[in-house]
Symmetry: C2
Subunit: 216 residues, 2 copies
Amino acid sequence: MIQHGAEGVHLNQIAEEAGLTSGAVLYHYPDLRDLLIEAHHAGMERFYEQRVKKISGMADPAQKLITTIRSGLPESPDDAGVRLLCELGGAAGRNRVYGTLLTTLYDRQVAMYQMILEVGAAQGVFKLAGDSEQIARNLVALEDAYGYRIIARHHSIGPDEAVGLILDFARMATGHPLKETPAPPRPKATRTTRTTRPRKSTGTADGSTAQPQDAG
Amino acid sequence: MIQHGAEGVHLNQIAEEAGLTSGAVLYHYPDLRDLLIEAHHAGMERFYEQRVKKISGMADPAQKLITTIRSGLPESPDDAGVRLLCELGGAAGRNRVYGTLLTTLYDRQVAMYQMILEVGAAQGVFKLAGDSEQIARNLVALEDAYGYRIIARHHSIGPDEAVGLILDFARMATGHPLKETPAPPRPKATRTTRTTRPRKSTGTADGSTAQPQDAG
DNA sequence: TAAGTATTTGAATCACGATTCAACAAATAT
DNA sequence: ATATTTGTTGAATCGTGATTCAAATACTTA
C-alpha cells in the first residue's frame, strides 16, 4: 500500500511480500479488503501502543508532553507507519471502515494528550489556557498535519521543525516553557531515534519516487 | 479520483466524465498522469483563488481571519475540492510531483495567513503571541488536519466545530476575541453548496461506500 | 504409522482495462 | 469548393492481474 496507494495494491505483490503465492493469500483472505483492513487495524494499534509505552515511565508532565509530540511525527519522509496513516487519510473519504478506524485513532490520541494535560494542570505544572479537550484536539491535529508535510518532503519542515512549531502552540496552551531535550544526553545536534536515512533520495526523471508506475 | 483514489482512476471513467471515449482522451493526453497532474494543479489554483477572493473586499483583519479559516475547511464530508486535496496527501509520499504541488499550496496559504496577521498587528488589532510565520503555519496545519477529520466523518467534528477549535488557537495567538459569524446571516444549520446526496448510503456488507471495489 | 485436515502451489481460465488504429467528422485554411 | 488539420469514434488487440482448482505438501491427531 505504501508503494502503490490504497487502490493500487496488487495481490501478487502482497503475496510476494509475504513469501507466498497469490493462491495462498486468497486461501486465508478470499476478500482482499479484509486483509487490508486487518493490517491497518494492527498497524494503528502498534502505532498507538508505541506512543503510550514511550511515556509510560515518565513522571514529569512536561517531558511527557514533549516526548508524545515527537512520537506522533514521522522520523523521516520514509517512515512507514505514518506513510500508511496518510494513505488512509485519503481513502477515509471513500471508505467508511477506514474513516472509522482513523477517527477512533484520533479520539484515542486526543484522550492521551488530555490525560497528560489534566495531570499536569492538577500538579500545577501547566496553566491551561483553555479546555483540555480543545487543546488536546489541536495538538493531535497539528501532529497529523505536520506528518503530512514531512511525508510530502516539505523543504523547510522536517521532524525537528515540526516539533518546534507544535511546541510553540503547546507553550501558549500550557503556560510552560517546555524546554526541548530534557533528559537524554545528546552531545551535538545529532538526532536520536532515526534509521538509516538515504542521503541522495533516489528520484526519477519525472519526479516520481523509485517505485515504478506512480502517479497513475 | 475522488471515487476511486489516486491509483484507482480508470481511463474509461475519465472519458465518460468528459463525455468522450477513451481514445479521444488519449489523443490529448497520451500519458494519463499528465492529465491528472494538470487537473490537480488547476483544482488547487481554484481552491486558493477562491479563498483570496472571499477576503478581498474586507477591511477588518479579524473578519478576514475568521473568513479565511472557514474557507479552508470542507463544507461537508462530500466537499469535492478538499476530498481531492486529501487524496493528494496520501499520494504525495509516493509521488514527488504531488508532494511539490501540495507543498507549494501549503506555503502559499501560510503566506496568506501571515499577511493577514501582520496587517492586523500593524493596525494594532492583533497582539501576536509569537512569530507570524509560526502562527500562520500552525493555522494552516490545523485547517488541513480538521479537513481530514471532516472528510473522514468524525462524529463530533464538523465544519462548525473545526472552525471553533481553530479559532480557539487563533485567539491565543492574536489576543483578539474573534467573534464568530460577523456578517453573513444564516437562519439555521442548513448547509449551502451541496449536491444530491444519497439518502440511504448504499453501503455494502463490509461497510465500504457505494462505489464498488473500494478498499483496494 | 495411518488417516485426516490444513495449507500451498502452479497452471488454466477469466475479465477488464489500456492501447492502437483505420475510418469518419468537424473545423480551418486556401 | 476543396484541401488540410484537428478531433473523435468504435472495434480489434494485447497484457495484466484476479480467480479457480486439482494436485502436492505439511501438519495434527489417534
